[in-house]
């Protein structure tokens, strides 16, 4: 690291468990989980679309529940288990059913909202909110997609939900 970096007096030592691995960071309290992931840990799969909790691109799981990393302080989730898009597929590269469904249904175009959509979809199914197309649309409404992949996202979530049920 560049030794010109100034560590502010209020730096915390934060331990984060991400995708099953432990990480230790010396960061200011104001650093969000999103910026910790992208800038410090080089886990850039989680995207920054608005940094204000208004688009869903930064969706990750904390203790299995979907949340927005941009409005979460990194310090807040010490001790919790965090999953990002990089941790979704198996170790051997086998895609999660949701990922495979997204590919098959062409549920993305530019791909920028896609990790957030997928993380949101995995949780949506787990929550039991993927029982119908109407429910999927409502419970996925927190993930904006400007390319307009919505109908294909619904198809992918429907397909993956069915597969995961059986």
């Amino acid at each position: 690291m560049n030794d010109q970096v100034t560590i502010s007096p209020t730096t915390l030592s934060v331990h984060l468990t991400i995708n099953g691995r432990d990480h230790s960071l010396d960061i200011e309290p104001r650093v969000t989980l999103l910026d910790a992931l992208r800038d410090r840990l080089h886990l850039t799969g989680t995207k920054k679309g608005c940094d204000q909790g208004q688009c869903g691109a930064c969706t990750v799981h904390v203790d299995g529940e979907r949340v927005l990393a941009c409005l979460t302080l990194a310090a807040q989730v010490e001790g919790r288990s965090i999953t990002t898009i990089e941790g979704l597929a198996d170790e051997d590269g086998t895609l999660h059913a949701v990922q495979a469904a997204f590919l098959e249904q062409d549920a993305f175009q530019c791909g920028y909202c896609t990790p957030g959509q997928i993380m949101s979809a995995v949780a949506c199914i787990r929550e039991g909110h993927a029982g119908s197309d109407e429910e999927i649309r409502e419970y996925m409404a927190g993930n904006l997609c400007r390319c307009g992949a919505y109908p294909h996202i619904v198809a992918a979530v429907r397909q993956a939900a069915k597969e995961l049920r059986s």
């Binding site: 560049n2 995207k47 679309g49 940094d51 175009q109 920028y112 999927i136 307009g148």
Partner: protein, 764 residues
């Protein structure tokens, strides 16, 4: 020009991979696993972070800036102001016109719009830069601003004579027409709002500049950077393999781009600068606000006698943008008399820019609403009305259409939608508290063309590489170029890797105007064909080739293996053949520039749009077409409008990949729904400032707003539009949706809304 016949593959899996096959995106695995790196996600040694400070007035001067608190804040490396930032050269515009000023200042003292960049802070961390930027104090001498299109201070504006289209005597014919309608249609300021915010990383190594920036036009932007900094074009490398949406907004190097590159030069460290989401609403232009009046005179059988059209769009005080408002008005319907004129009005706003289908999109809102109003006036079915006035050829260019499957689109769409079951009177269909309405509208987008080039390499292991500085922002370039190369060469698509988005690769013009697929498939087809010819030539003629003894006239490649078409003699993989003849690669560049083009002409072709080929060049007029059928449900108490069904039939010629084309079409339709019902840049007129510059208050459609959308392809190969027979896809479907919805809302409620968006307070 003939459509090059693709050797349509034999097996199902080969058909999937061939041009026209529904191959899944080859960049899919990277995108769905988080492995795709977007521009500002590069990890670099010594990376610094920059944040821009925007003006809080719409017009006036910066009278003072106090940077002391910012300079001494933790981690701050530099505070840039108009006084301290290095001077840049003026750069030519996208047509290649020389700059109006010899120098360029991306941080300004003279403010002409709210949010204009006046300062920037560079620090070691993002948090430090943000905190320090808030400490920069700026004082202004504020002047009266022209706040929007309807500001009285704006006046009538500047006539744009190049937009005038006239034939016959439109005014007289309108006055004499037995049936006349005339109305004004307005669209507000809108934003592209791609999910990836604008931003970049700039790094200098000596006099060489590398820029990681989402870009729809690497060569054009590289030229701008080179001119700003006075370095050779070859010294600039723009890298953009993945772009998180563009929609027209990412084709130019902008003020914040200059700030980042200048800061990197001054500090001799890489600089990452990302615009905040609110800054994305003020730092570059979205779609200009527009106003049109459309007057149509017709006979009592519904035949149009005259169209008189006037349009105006806002532009900046110090920049010119024209949104061609007569572009659909002048070609959609046959009329013996026509007049369209357009002004622009200077407003204190950032220069408007391109947003999906600039010109055609708002133009269609006018004419496709107006013809609907005429239909109701005459008691004629709106679909029938459009067929009565069908233009058999381009009424403006007076040329035959290259292909126009619009009748087929109307027929297919109407059939699938069930249009025949419509009850004609407004407010005649309901379901409980919901009024139901059905609307139809047509859309179109010209086939924009350009010369393109691509490099195709066959490598020693038999794999194929396609290289171009063109880009994929979600339209599927990676995939369709893989399909083109795979089919042309006869190799499985898994053996093809497509490398895009690096200005050091083979040149490309702007990815805009829906032209890329047509341009690039042609270039790749040509390059791959040349590579194939060389491969086959080696196989036949080289004495070391196992085929040499065969004395064959030709050989074919299937599934990556070379054999005689008659099945005799050896059968080898490409790798085996190359090894036998001692070659480690074959490389071919295909380009469609005229053979005797000079280096200057090539440079101009790729770094400006000045050499785009007009869509009416030669004997034909080339457009994509569509017909949208929409059902809306309007709550009779609340006035809320929901789109419950969409059926669109579209003519984009031959589809290179129907799966991806459908996604593009649906994307355009969804953006059109946003335009019709939700999107509006709201200006606080006291300050000339957008107050809803964020994704909660500038509303995009959510998943819950969008029903099932059915798209039907009615296109046929168009030999006059592109080498492989396709026409534009990406910008077609957004054209015509807003009027279809406005027409449906009228049918549901009996209320005609002519100002977008159609929000609840306009209906209750």
């Amino acid at each position: 020009m003939t459509v090059h016949d693709m050797k349509h593959a034999a097996s199902d899996s080969a058909r999937l991979e061939a041009v026209g096959g529904r191959l899944s995106r080859v960049d899919g695995p990277a995108k769905i696993t988080g492995a795709a790196h977007y521009a500002v996600e590069q990890q670099l040694e010594g990376l610094t972070h920059a944040v821009v400070v925007g003006a809080t007035i719409a017009a006036g001067k910066v009278s003072a800036i106090d940077t002391r608190a910012a300079e001494t804040a933790p981690g701050v490396l530099a505070v840039l102001t108009p006084d301290t930032i290095m001077e840049l050269n003026g750069a030519s515009d996208w047509l290649g016109n020389p700059p109006s000023q010899p120098t360029y200042a991306p941080l300004v003292r003279e403010v002409t719009f709210s949010g204009q960049h006046v300062a920037a802070v560079v620090a070691e961390t993002f948090e430090q830069a943000v905190a320090a930027a808030a400490l920069v104090k700026v004082w202004y001498d504020e002047s009266p601003a022209i706040v929007d299109l309807s500001d009285g201070k704006a006046g009538d504006g500047i006539p744009i004579d190049a937009m005038t289209k006239e034939w016959g005597d439109a005014q007289a014919a309108f006055a004499e027409a037995p049936v006349r309608i005339c109305a004004a249609y307005n669209t507000p300021r809108e934003f592209q709002a791609a999910m990836e915010p604008h931003g970049l990383i700039a790094r200098w190594e000596g006099d060489e500049l590398t820029i990681w920036e989402p870009s729809q036009w690497l060569d054009g932007m590289a030229r701008t950077y080179a001119e700003w900094f006075g370095v050779p074009f070859e010294n600039v490398r723009l890298v953009s393999p993945y772009i998180g949406g563009g929609f027209g907004s990412k084709a130019l190097a902008l003020a914040h781009s200059a700030v980042a590159a200048a800061a990197a030069r001054m500090l001799d460290r890489p600089v990452k600068l990302v615009l905040t989401r609110p800054q994305n609403f003020t730092s570059y232009g979205g779609r200009a606000a527009t106003r049109q009046t459309v007057a149509i005179g017709a006979d009592r059988e519904g035949r149009i006698q005259s169209i008189v059209h006037r349009g105006v769009n806002e532009t900046a005080v110090d920049g010119m943008w024209v949104e061609p408002l007569g572009s659909v008005t002048s070609i959609m319907y046959a009329t013996p008399n026509f007049s369209s004129r357009q002004n622009v009005v200077r407003v204190n706003t950032v220069v408007p820019g391109a947003k999906r289908a600039p010109g055609e999109n708002p133009s269609a809102f006018g004419i496709e609403s107006a013809i609907d109003e005429l239909a109701y006036e005459l008691g004629i079915d709106p679909l029938e009305m459009r067929l009565i006035n069908y233009a058999e050829r381009d009424p403006h260019a007076k040329k035959a259409w290259s292909t126009r499957q619009l009748r087929e689109a109307f027929a297919a769409g109407a059939e699938a939608f069930g249009w025949a079951k419509r009850s004609s009177a407004p407010r005649s269909m309901r379901d409980g508290h919901q009024l139901i309405g059905w609307g139809v509208a047509a859309g179109t987008y010209p086939v924009r063309r350009a010369h393109g080039e691509a490099v195709v390499k066959i490598l020693a292991d038999g794999s194929v590489e396609v290289e171009s500085s063109s880009i994929d922002m979600g339209q599927g370039t990676y995939t369709i170029l893989a399909q083109t190369a795979a089919e042309t060469l006869g190799v499985p698509v898994e053996q093809v890797s497509v490398r895009l988005g690096d200005s050091h690769f083979a040149r490309a013009g702007v990815t805009g105007g829906s032209r890329l697929a047509g341009v690039m498939t042609g270039a790749v087809y040509k390059a791959a064909g040349q590579a194939l010819d060389e491969l086959i030539g080696l196989a036949i003629a080289d004495p070391r080739s196992p085929f040499h003894a065969l004395q064959a006239n030709t050989l074919q490649v299937r599934g990556g293996r070379i054999a005689s078409p008659r099945g005799e003699g050896p059968e080898l993989s490409i790798a085996e053949l190359l090894s036998a003849v001692g070659r480690d690669r074959i490389e071919a560049k295909g380009d469609s520039m005229p053979a005797n083009s000079t280096p200057e002409e090539r440079y101009k072709n790729y770094t400006t749009i000045a050499m785009s080929i007009p869509h009416t060049e030669g004997d034909y007029s080339r457009y994509s077409w569509c017909a949208h059928f929409v059902e809306v449900r309007v709550d009779e108490d609340f006035g809320t409008v929901r789109v419950s069904r969409v059926v669109s039939a579209l003519d984009s010629g031959r589809l290179y990949n129907p799966k991806l084309a459908e996604s593009q079409w649906k994307g355009g339709i969804i953006m059109g729904i946003g335009q019709a019902l939700l999107e509006e840049g709201i200006v606080d007129r006291r300050h000339g400032r957008i107050v809803n510059g964020n994704l909660a208050d500038y509303m995009l459609p959510t998943n819950a707003d969008i029903p099932d959308i059915q798209t039907i392809s009615v296109g046929i190969p168009d030999p006059h539009s592109s080498a492989l027979g396709g026409k534009g896809v990406g910008e077609l479907a957004i054209v015509g949706i807003a009027p279809a919805i406005a027409n449906a809302v009228f049918h549901a409620t009996g209320k005609r809304i002519r100002d977008l968006p159609i929000t609840l307070e306009k209906l209750i």
